[in-house]
Symmetry: C2
Subunit: 194 residues, 2 copies
DNA sequence: CGTCTATTTGAATGTACTCAAAAGCGGTGG
DNA sequence: CCACCGCTTTTGAGTACATTCAAATAGACG
């Protein structure tokens, strides 16, 4: 399995020495998951952060009425987890589930904190990475408010190139916050517009 | 002006020595703004992060159609800025404007980075703080999708206690992503329900 | 008291949803 | 190889939530 991609990901914002790399990788668990397996389950405490080497996952919430709301897809070179649960070590509000066979690099809460002590610049990496994620989340908040469903779909396609080929339509509808029926109508509109 | 509240805010996650406190405060600019003044203007580069000692601000985006979309209110003991612009030092997509006379403690991009060097545990503080903000942003994404406008209003009241007394209704409507007219109808519904 | 802005109310419209049913598609077994 | 099953997508009719536009009312301030 490719152990280099996660190091490349870190090297976006920090540079590790060979010793630090080895230390980091010694804490990382490389693991394969089958389609359908859960990385986090709503109600459980999220124990790991996961870097996606290969595959695709969804993060979703089941509300009181039993409706599934996908809040995020995670693909190659993304980090995923329920940060809320991971940080506070309290029960998760989200499920994270594999949509395909996935290769993940996982770091436990305990090991991550240990690494922050041993390699302080990792704290810098995490700060930058999380700030980017925060900015992206706010961007999405603005889009969702300003734009009707058709435009949100076009934004989705920009954010996740080719993902609408990989994921069933009803899951994209859930991500967009609309029903599968309405999403189908939007798609046929877009096709006939051209 | 109260210089202690910002130190109390830092002490949520880190403990500074007396020297570090003094160093930190030497970099902070305490400043008063009048109602209507802008902290950040869409298109400008956001130069400071601001801690709110007193007052209330709104962060909003003007879209292509000229509509104002409020994405956040900031009140006492909150941090505010356009993080996207601040971090990348690129033009801002948001305006941040005072809704009341405000007392702010401001830290420039340059000084903040210098402080990260001089007091590394500030990096830890920022990571934790931004993670909390990220979690809150995702929570809001879920609410906005799952809930109709009436419920979103109730969530708003939980998140911002007493703010609907301080802010005009049409601005709350903008925050909720609905028109002022519809918001007025929701409010009269809620009153008659009791 | 008058002016300006914010809020309320109402009618017509549009966007998105629910429910129901049909059509498409992929895999499995005979 | 085809028929059937289960699941996804499409289509349509009726409905609900939210918007637009217009006008009336209420509040704030000089």
């Amino acid at each position: 399995m490719n152990t280099q991609s996660i190091i490349n990901n870190l090297s976006r914002y920090i540079t590790l020495t060979a010793e630090e790399e080895a230390l980091y990788l010694s804490k990382v668990r490389f693991r394969k998951f089958q389609k359908g397996q859960f990385i986090v389950q709503q109600g459980d405490i999220c124990t790991h952060e996961s870097y996606v080497i290969a595959g695709c996952l969804k993060t979703y919430h089941i509300d009181e009425n039993g409706n599934e709301r996908i809040v995020m897809f995670s693909v190659e070179d993304w980090w995923t987890s329920d940060l809320g649960s991971f940080l506070t070590q309290k029960p998760s509000a989200f499920n994270v589930q594999c949509l395909e066979t996935c290769e993940l690099a996982q770091l436990s809460y305990h090991d991550q904190n240990e690494l922050y002590q041993l390699i302080p610049k990792l704290e810098h990496f995490s700060r930058i990475a999380i700030q980017k994620a925060y900015i992206a989340a706010y961007e999405r908040l603005v889009y969702n408010f300003s734009l009707p469903a058709k435009e949100r779909y076009l934004e989705f396609k920009k954010r996740y190139p080719n993902l609408d080929q990989r994921v069933p339509q009803y899951q994209i509808a859930s991500y967009l916050g609309i029903t599968p029926e309405f999403f189908s109508k939007i798609r046929s509109q877009l096709i006939h517009e051209q």
